[in-house]
Every structure is written in structure tokens, then in C-alpha cells.
């Protein structure tokens, strides 16, 4: 049974759903020379499991910082971050690595695939760090590539794939560790609108299957497809929808 359906049932039963992401008064400042830049200024917000949120805002507004903090790539300066029951504020680097491996799938604008590895090997990478058996890894990676429609491109290297296909590989890689949350930073930024649309359809499909989706974008067409849109401006958050 899908998580979404579970949630619906819980809601129908009138029970409170625990948020999968909960930020309280999160601050993050950067020092650029003499200037202090407040990337996040006492940001608080919650995300329910299975939600699809678009984080928008102008360049340098702090949206990537927010995504990185939720994704466990960056530490906030203050406040509290709880993701899927994990308190990230004081988590040590080693634990954060495991957290990213088990809970988060990242999708990047420029795909960030390893050029000398095949599609299959790229998708297997998170599973290598999860110490999964080689045979199981291959099976899982193949399954993920089939899920993104690249079951016939397993042995292809990134250079032999189109932009859209590369991003599909990246999504398959994000999926391989069976994360509950996928954080996609401008996933359609490097693609034309048709390919971008394909990727959005794919991501929405994953969301429908219960994965919580966070998309950072300044493309309003992308943002529009989200269930919630959050805008960050000068480190402050405003809920648009």
C-alpha cells in the first residue's frame, strides 16, 4: 500500500500526521569577505510525508542552502532540523553520510554522473556506500533504471546518453537507496522544455508513489506543478500556496 494512501486514511480517521521534515528557527549565515550574508533567517516550516514542495526564490536567496540543510549536506548555525525522526543539527559527519545514503535522494541540475562509469554503475554508487552485496546492487540498479525507462541503456556511458536520459539516470541513482525524500535542485534547468516536462512527469510519478519531493526551481512552470510552493527571499520564507 502506498504511503500516500496510508496518509489519506490517517487523515480520514482524523489523526495528526507527523511531519517528515520539520525546521524550527533555522539560521545560516555565510561570510563573504567582510560581508555577512544571512542565507536563512529563522526559517521554520513543516513538510508532511508524501508532499511535493517547490522552493522558489531569486538567485542567492538561500533556497539551495535550505535544500542542503534538509539533505544533510550542510549544518545550520542555529535552530533545529528534524527529518524523518533524525535530528540533524548536532549530527556528526559520519552519521550524516549514512543519513544521506538511507533517507535522501539528490538530483542535480547538471546531473553529476560519473563520466567513465556506465548508467548501471552510476546508479549502483549509493549502494556501494551502503555496503550492499554486488549481486543485489546490480539487481536494484537495474530495477531503478527500468523504472525511469532506461532498461535498455544499462551499459551506456553518460556521453552516449541524451540530456533527458542522463537526468533519468540521475533520478534512478537517487531512487536506488529507496529514500523517503528526493531533493531535486533545478532538475530541468539544463533541459529543453519537452525533456523537462518528461522529467517532471517522472518525478511526479515518484511523488504519487509516496516519495516526498522537494524541488528547487525558479521556473514557474515547474513550481506550478507542486502541491505547495515556498518562496525564499533574503533568507525569509513565505508560503505562496
Amino acid at each position: 500500500m502506498h504511503v500516500v494512501n496510508k496518509m489519506h486514511m490517517l487523515k480520514l480517521k482524523g489523526l495528526q500526521v507527523e511531519p517528515i521534515i520539520e525546521l524550527k528557527n533555522v539560521t545560516k549565515t555565510y561570510k563573504l569577505g567582510d560581508e555577512t550574508l544571512k542565507a536563512l533567517d529563522s526559517v521554520s516550516f513543516k513538510v508532511s510525508p508524501g508532499d511535493f514542495i517547490a522552493i522558489t526564490g531569486p538567485s542567492g536567496s538561500g533556497k539551495s542552502t535550505l535544500a542542503n540543510i534538509i539533505g544533510g549536506l550542510d549544518h545550520p548555525d542555529g535552530g533545529s532540523v528534524i527529518v524523518d525522526g533524525n535530528e540533524l543539527m548536532h549530527t556528526r559527519d559520519n552519521k550524516l553520510s549514512s543519513y544521506r545514503n538511507e533517507h535522501i535522494g539528490f538530483v542535480f541540475q547538471s546531473f553529476n554522473l560519473q563520466g567513465n562509469n556506465t548508467a548501471l554503475e552510476n546508479v549502483m554508487l549509493p549502494l556501494v556506500f551502503a555496503r550492499m552485496k554486488n549481486k543485489d546492487r546490480k539487481a536494484r540498479a537495474k530495477e531503478c533504471l527500468e523504472a525511469v525507462g532506461l532498461g535498455d541503456r544499462l551499459k551506456h556511458k553518460p556521453t552516449q546518453l541524451s540530456g533527458g536520459q542522463r537526468q533519468r539516470v540521475a533520478i534512478a541513482r537517487a531512487l536506488s537507496g529507496k529514500p523517503k525524500i528526493i531533493i531535486a535542485d533545478e532538475p530541468t534547468g539544463n533541459l529543453d522544455s519537452a525533456k523537462g516536462e518528461e522529467i517532471m512527469t517522472l518525478l511526479k510519478g515518484l511523488n504519487k508513489d509516496g516519495i516526498t519531493l522537494l524541488i528547487i526551481t525558479h521556473d514557474m512552470n515547474v513550481a506550478r506543478q507542486a502541491k505547495r510552493v515556498v518562496e525564499i527571499r533574503d533568507g525569509k520564507i513565505t508560503e505562496r500556496r
Binding site: S97, P126, F129, G177
Partner: protein
């Protein structure tokens, strides 16, 4: 990450930049090859020396000297005399023979009676002559003919190859075997063979205390047959003679006036005919009185040499086994090994710098990749291990190829060394060895150097901030 994954990833990353990796490995190869060659040369020479020592039986020998304060084999072997020393007489020889684990004793004599050797009109001077029991305990490297044997009597000698060369037998030592040479003594020699005349009968009263024994002022000349040519480098004296002949050289022969009843002619009333003094030849075995220069005791097992040496010292004489002086010579090899290994070590250090450089370059190029690895769950320690592994692998392959090339070169060197040794009459084959420990050590050290060289770049890679790394262009 599993060990297999580290190996697989490191291997793949090395192959990614083929030329750069090859050049870096090549630098390690140069270092590893030079270390291999230098150390195999030294271990080869050391092994050859050891085997020579073992085959010479030196390890089973204890040298005995009259001098008690002797500490090393060579000085004990050289012997020497001193007034207060316990003389190495036959009585001592018997006592040494009785020491447990001693299976034989050879007595050594050094003699200065002979002054010159002449062959075919060519006269060459001699410093000293040696003699020892030809019972197989003391052996010399024989280049032609045979060594002295126990059955040899007076008039049989061996000479060294340098003298054979001077007599014109270079390259044909066998040609001198069986030939007669002339040996001449110093003046005032009065040992065996010296023509000593009785003193001239004195007219009138003779002083008994000044009995004017006959002395031989001229050199005595012997004819001797050369039975063997010894290697100059392995000989302590040019001419070796049977020990009994040397005993003869050292036997003092002189005429002494016999005791007579003194007659006082001044009190004689009639004609006084005092009895004429008579003389007889007296021989004194000086060797029996002064003792032998040194003894070599043969021990049943080299392990017992030190113990036997201690036991012999209790007889009031000096004794030393060869282990100390052999160890001293082995130390020389060890120092040589350190120096030569150090030269190879410098090459290795340069190679290590190459590895550091390559790894830093690799990390710069792969910064984004490191960011991705961190994003999908690689720990800092995983990244560190991965790059350290990669650097170690550069060292490992450098070591493997270095040893392989070093092995090839030592094979070639052996061909030349074998020829050289064969020309010196030494039976040795492939002395420049490449023992397993050396192969493992060189590969191990190369890998370790790679690992150490990789530590700094790897720690830089591990410290990369994943967010920054992902943003790196």
C-alpha cells in the same frame, strides 16, 4: 564500502588517466629497481662471503695464541710470542685436543730462516715461511698441483701464485708443479742442513767459558720441489713447508765443548800434556721450548666454537673463534647495504613526490565527483581510504614492475659476475640473488611509500565540503 570495491575503484581511477598514472608508476619503478639491484648486490655479496666462510670451515675453528689478551680470530691466528705467555708446547696441544667438542688441532709455525727463492736463475726474496700440520684443518685455495700432505717430508713446498707469475708461469701454474727451486737461508743459520764445522782446536789453554763453537756464516741452500700453487689472496706467506721441516729450521745446532778434567800444568813436574778439549754437536729443538706460533682447533659444530674458545682460555692461553671477526666483516656489508639502499631510497622519495603530485591533481579534477560521492552517502573516511588506496596501488605496481626489472638486470649482472669468478677459479654461480624476502620487502616498501604519499592528498579530499565540491567547476 567493501575492500573489493576499494580495489575495483582504485584500479579504475588509475586506468582513467593512463599516461599520468604510467609516468607516476614509472618513477616508482626507477626507485624500486635501484633499491632491488643495490640490495640484491649486497645480499648476494654477503651470501657469497658467508658461503665462502662456511666452506672454508672458518666457523668451526678456534684460533689459539700464546697471548692471553687476544680477542679476535685473526690476531690469535697470527700468534706471537711473549716472555710471560704460556707457551704453546706439545703439552698444551694435547690439552687443547682433550677439550670437549675439539676434533682436531693444527699447529702453526712461522719461520724467518729462508731469505730467498731461486728458480731458473731468478732470485726472489722471501719474508717468512709458514708451516702447519697438513691434517686438513687449515686449507688454502690451491690453483694448481696439490696442498701439502702429512706424508710430505723435507724438500717439498707450495708457493703463492704471485711468485709463480714472477717465475714466468702466469696462466700456466701447472707448468711449475714438480719443478725444483732453490731456497737459501740467512747467514748464521744453524738449523737443519747447515754445514757447521767444529771449532778450531785452540793451542794452549782454552777458556771453557768461551768455547768458540763453530758457526756457519754462510747461507745454507736447499733444493725443494714445488707441489702446489696457492692463491696469493688466500695465503699468509709465500712459501709453505711441511711442519717437520720448519721444526728443523728452528732447531739450534752448535758445537759445545765437552767437560774435561782440568790439569794444572804449573804444578806438573814432568811433561804436562793437558787433555785437548773435545766438542760435540748439540741440537736443541727450539720449537719444543718456545712453543708454536699458534694453533687452530677444529670444533665438531660451529655452535660449539664459542664454548670451546672459553674452555681453551682456561688453559692460560688466548683463544678466539671467528664469529666476531666474521660479524665485523658482515657489518661492513650491512653498512654498504644501508648506503646503497639509501641511494635507492632517494629515488623512492622522488617517486613519492610524484605520487603526491599525481594524487593532488586527481583530487582537483575529481572534486565534483567527490561531492557526488559524499552526497550519495560516502563518509569522509571512505573518501580518504579510496584515495589512499589509489596512491598505494601506484606504489604497489611501481614495486612489482621495479622488482621484475631489477630481477632481469640481476640475471644479466650474474652472467658477468659468473665469468669473473670462473676466471679466478672460484666455483660460484649466480651469487647476486633475489631472495623472496627482498622481493616482498621492495613491493611492500613501494606500496607503503605510495600509501604515505597518498595520506596528505587523501586527507585533503576527505576534508572537502560536499556543498563546495558539488559546486566546483
Amino acid at each position: 564500502m567493501k575492500l573489493f570495491d576499494y580495489i575495483r575503484l582504485a584500479f579504475r581511477n588509475i586506468r582513467r588517466q593512463k599516461l599520468r598514472s604510467a609516468l607516476t608508476i614509472f618513477a616508482v619503478v626507477i626507485g624500486a629497481t635501484s633499491v632491488t639491484i643495490m640490495l640484491s648486490l649486497v645480499t648476494g655479496a654477503k651470501g657469497f662471503f658467508k658461503s665462502q666462510v662456511e666452506s672454508s670451515g672458518l666457523l668451526e675453528q678456534v684460533a689459539v695464541s700464546p697471548k692471553q689478551d687476544i680477542t679476535d680470530f685473526n690476531s690469535a691466528n697470527n700468534g706471537g710470542q711473549c716472555d710471560s705467555c704460556t707457551k704453546l708446547t706439545d703439552a698444551i696441544v694435547e690439552k687443547v685436543k682433550a677439550v670437549p667438542h675439539v676434533i682436531g688441532v693444527a699447529r702453526q709455525v712461522q719461520d724467518g730462516s729462508l731469505e730467498a727463492i731461486t728458480y731458473n736463475g731468478k732470485k726472489l726474496s722471501l719474508q717468512r715461511t709458514t708451516a702447519y700440520d697438513a691434517n686438513g684443518i687449515i686449507t688454502r685455495n690451491i690453483l694448481a698441483g696439490r696442498d701439502l700432505a702429512e706424508a710430505d717430508k723435507d724438500g717439498v713446498i707450495t708457493i703463492t701464485s704471485d711468485y709463480a707469475d714472477k717465475f714466468g708461469f702466469k696462466g700456466n701454474y701447472a707448468g711449475l708443479i714438480g719443478k725444483d727451486v732453490t731456497l737459501s737461508t740467512r747467514g748464521f743459520y744453524n738449523g737443519v742442513g747447515a754445514d757447521i764445522q767444529p771449532p778450531v782446536q785452540c793451542q794452549g789453554a782454552c777458556d771453557n767459558n768461551n768455547n768458540n763453537p763453530g758457526q756457519n756464516q754462510k747461507a745454507t741452500v736447499f733444493t725443494a720441489k714445488v707441489v702446489g700453487i696457492t692463491d696469493t689472496n688466500d695465503s699468509d706467506a709465500t712459501v709453505r713447508v711441511p711442519i717437520d721441516w720448519a721444526r728443523g729450521f728452528q732447531t739450534m745446532r752448535m758445537y759445545q765443548q765437552d767437560k774435561v778434567t782440568q790439569v794444572d800444568c804449573s804444578k806438573a813436574r814432568g811433561p804436562c800434556n793437558p787433555p785437548q778439549p773435545t766438542f760435540s754437536l748439540v741440537t736443541t729443538d727450539q720449537l719444543a721450548i718456545n712453543g708454536y706460533a699458534s694453533l687452530i682447533a677444529k670444533v665438531d659444530n660451529s655452535k660449539n666454537a664459542a664454548g670451546v674458545s672459553t674452555e681453551i682460555k682456561k688453559l692460560g692461553v688466548g683463544a678466539a673463534d671467528a664469529s666476531a671477526s666474521i660479524n665485523q666483516q658482515l657489518t661492513v656489508f650491512n653498512i654498504l647495504g644501508l648506503v646503497l639502499g639509501g641511494i635507492g631510497g632517494i629515488a623512492m622519495a622522488v617517486a613519492a613526490i610524484g605520487v603526491v603530485n599525481t594524487m593532488i591533481m586527481a583530487i582537483l579534477e575529481r572534486t565534483r565527483e567527490i561531492g557526488v560521492m559524499r552526497a550519495v552517502g560516502a563518509k569522509r573516511s571512505t573518501v580518504r581510504s579510496l584515495f589512499t588506496f589509489e596512491a598505494s596501488m601506484l606504489g604497489f605496481w611501481g614495486g612489482v614492475f621495479g622488482v621484475a626489472i631489477g630481477f632481469g638486470l640481476t640475471r644479466v649482472a650474474n652472467i658477468f659476475v659468473n665469468k669473473q669468478l670462473a676466471s679466478q677459479g672460484l666455483k660460484a654461480h649466480d651469487i647476486i640473488g633475489l631472495p623472496v624476502w627482498l622481493i616482498l620487502a621492495v613491493v611492500g616498501i613501494s606500496t607503503l611509500i605510495g600509501l604515505l604519499a597518498g595520506l596528505y592528498p587523501a586527507s585533503r579530499a576527505a576534508k572537502l565540503d560536499p556543498v563546495e565540491a558539488l559546486r566546483y567547476e
